[in-house]
């Protein structure tokens, strides 16, 4: 890759045209929310989709060559021709009458991810969480005990809200209602973090806009 020092305003003509094209694409895309859907937006959208697809295909082929086809071509692992055939068998999805052929490679994909996921998620996602919820603090500080009680009661109530799928009345009404409040607190915190995430990316765009126009240094 030709190194383009993005830390400084480009001096060569291709670099300058490049950042202005980048700015133009940004403005064309943002014309949709900030003005209305225009042909400029659609042009930028189509160009971007074409670029992403092309680059994804090239990178995937590169990965395939580097990781597996090299073993095939050197004769080390000739049986790798089988997954290659299975990979092409996936294209049977396109033909309705032969769609069943694609189920075999999908079976391998689904089986491997499901098997791994089922087994591997048990310890960190269930066992560790339950142990952590039930483990009392070793220090005597009041705040530690408060946090422990908060998390323990909150987790129990919130889990009961999800897992008790029958109508929440009678003895379970109180804990499930309380669980709902704990969930709302968690979702509120999640929303606050989501705002940070989205605005961090948007501020990057605002900075790029100012840098290309040389209002702030690049």
């Amino acid at each position: 890759m030709i190194p383009i020092d993005v830390a400084a305003y480009p001096t060569e003509i291709t670099g300058i045209i490049g950042i202005w094209v980048g700015l133009a694409i940004m403005l064309m895309i943002y014309s949709y929310p900030m003005y209305k859907e225009t042909i400029a937006f659609r042009l930028a959208e189509h160009t971007f989709v074409a670029t992403v697809m092309a680059i994804t295909i090239v990178v995937n082929i590169d990965s395939l060559l580097r990781t597996s086809l090299v073993h095939l071509f050197t004769g080390e692992q000739l049986y790798l021709i089988i997954p290659i055939i299975l990979g092409f068998a996936m294209y049977a999805l396109i033909f309705p009458d032969y769609r069943w052929i694609s189920r075999y490679p999908i079976a391998i994909l689904v089986g491997s991810s499901l098997g791994l996921g089922m087994a591997a998620s048990m310890v960190p996602s269930i066992v560790s969480q339950v142990i952590s919820t039930a483990t009392a603090p070793t220090t005597g500080a009041a705040i530690d005990w408060f946090n422990f009680a908060f998390i323990a009661i909150g987790t129990l109530c919130a889990v009961s809200y999800f897992l008790l799928t029958y109508e929440h009345k009678g003895i379970v009404k109180g804990p499930t209602q309380l669980g709902r409040y704990f969930i709302m607190i968690g979702l509120g915190a999640y929303f606050g973090n989501t705002v940070l995430f989205r605005f961090a990316m948007l501020s990057g765009r605002a900075l790029f806009f100012l840098q290309v126009l040389k209002i702030v240094p690049m």
């Binding site: 190194p3 990781t67 605005f199 209002i215």
Partner: protein, 277 residues
């Protein structure tokens, strides 16, 4: 206030909101405020883990975010790699899930003088293996047989021939994993590297990972967590080298204040309208 004005406030054209937001985001770059950033316990824990590295320890850096998330994950990644270089630990770099690993790694290297000066050398101090598009099964495979996944680095050198890779073939040989991603990959490193092999895992994630990752912090599966640009700014403060995250925090301040004010105004107007009705 009349309901006409209240109605107008609550039903303002969203395009006006977007323009206001963009201006509020842009102005602090022109006229910086320079508000200080306080360090959260999870970022401090990440710093402590990096600070405890010794010369020659192997750190694995998973770059699993695209250029679209550079604002969030890149500053934290740069700051962590600076610490790794400072501690003279070894670095193995690869990426999954996005095609932008090479450009992101180039960007990280361009910000750290030791790479350009040649004092932190490829092959001896770090190895870059590029991109693979698959995540969960590959991370599991790498934990026990790294060479099965990456037979060569991006320059075509066989993994066996890279000096720093001689004693490395999986999780057992790794001191610390830094997973820089926008979602699930940190989970995969916890499942397949931390739980079976007890490797320390630190997560350099987007801001939402501050929520999902916190459960792993509490259960001891993660040693540290940098959440988004905020985490990056905290890490830059801890290592004493302010960077792009610190610059962005003023813009974050003004925009967040705008959102809070907007939510308050909208709800006050709503409650006032409801009371009138």
């Amino acid at each position: 206030m009349s309901s006409g004005i209240l109605g107008k406030i609550t039903n303002i054209d969203r395009r006006i909101l977007y323009w206001i937001l963009f201006v509020v985001l842009a102005v602090p770059f022109i006229s910086p405020i320079g508000l200080p950033v306080f360090v959260t316990p999870t970022s401090q824990a990440m710093y402590n883990s990096l600070n405890s590295l010794k010369k020659g320890d192997v750190v694995v850096l998973g770059i699993n975010f695209g250029v679209s998330a550079w604002s969030e994950c890149l500053p934290g990644s740069i700051a962590c790699v600076k610490m790794v270089v400072r501690k003279e630990a070894k670095l193995i770099v690869f990426g999954m899930g996005t095609t932008d690993v090479a450009i992101t790694w180039n960007e990280i290297m361009s910000k750290i003088p030791a790479f350009g000066a040649g004092t932190y050398k490829e092959g001896d101090d770090y190895a870059f293996f590029g991109f693979l598009p698959i995540q969960e099964t590959t991370i599991n495979l790498m934990a026990t047989n790294f060479r099965q996944v990456f037979t060569k680095d991006t320059k075509g050198h066989l993994t066996d021939d890279i000096p720093m890779m001689k004693n490395f073939n999986g999780a057992k040989d790794c001191k610390l994993v830094l997973s820089s991603d926008t979602g699930d990959v940190g989970d995969y490193f916890i499942r397949y590297w931390q739980v079976p092999f007890k490797v320390a895992v630190g997560w350099i994630g987007i801001a939402m990972n501050a929520s999902t990752g916190m459960t792993y912090i509490r259960s001891g599966n993660l040693v540290g967590l940098l959440s988004g640009v905020r985490g990056g700014a905290e890490m830059e403060k801890l290592i004493g080298e302010p960077g792009s995250a610190t610059t962005n925090m003023d813009s974050i301040s003004t925009s967040h204040l705008l959102v809070v004010i907007a939510v308050i105004i909208a709800n006050v107007a709503y409650l006032a309208t409801r009371r009138k009705a």
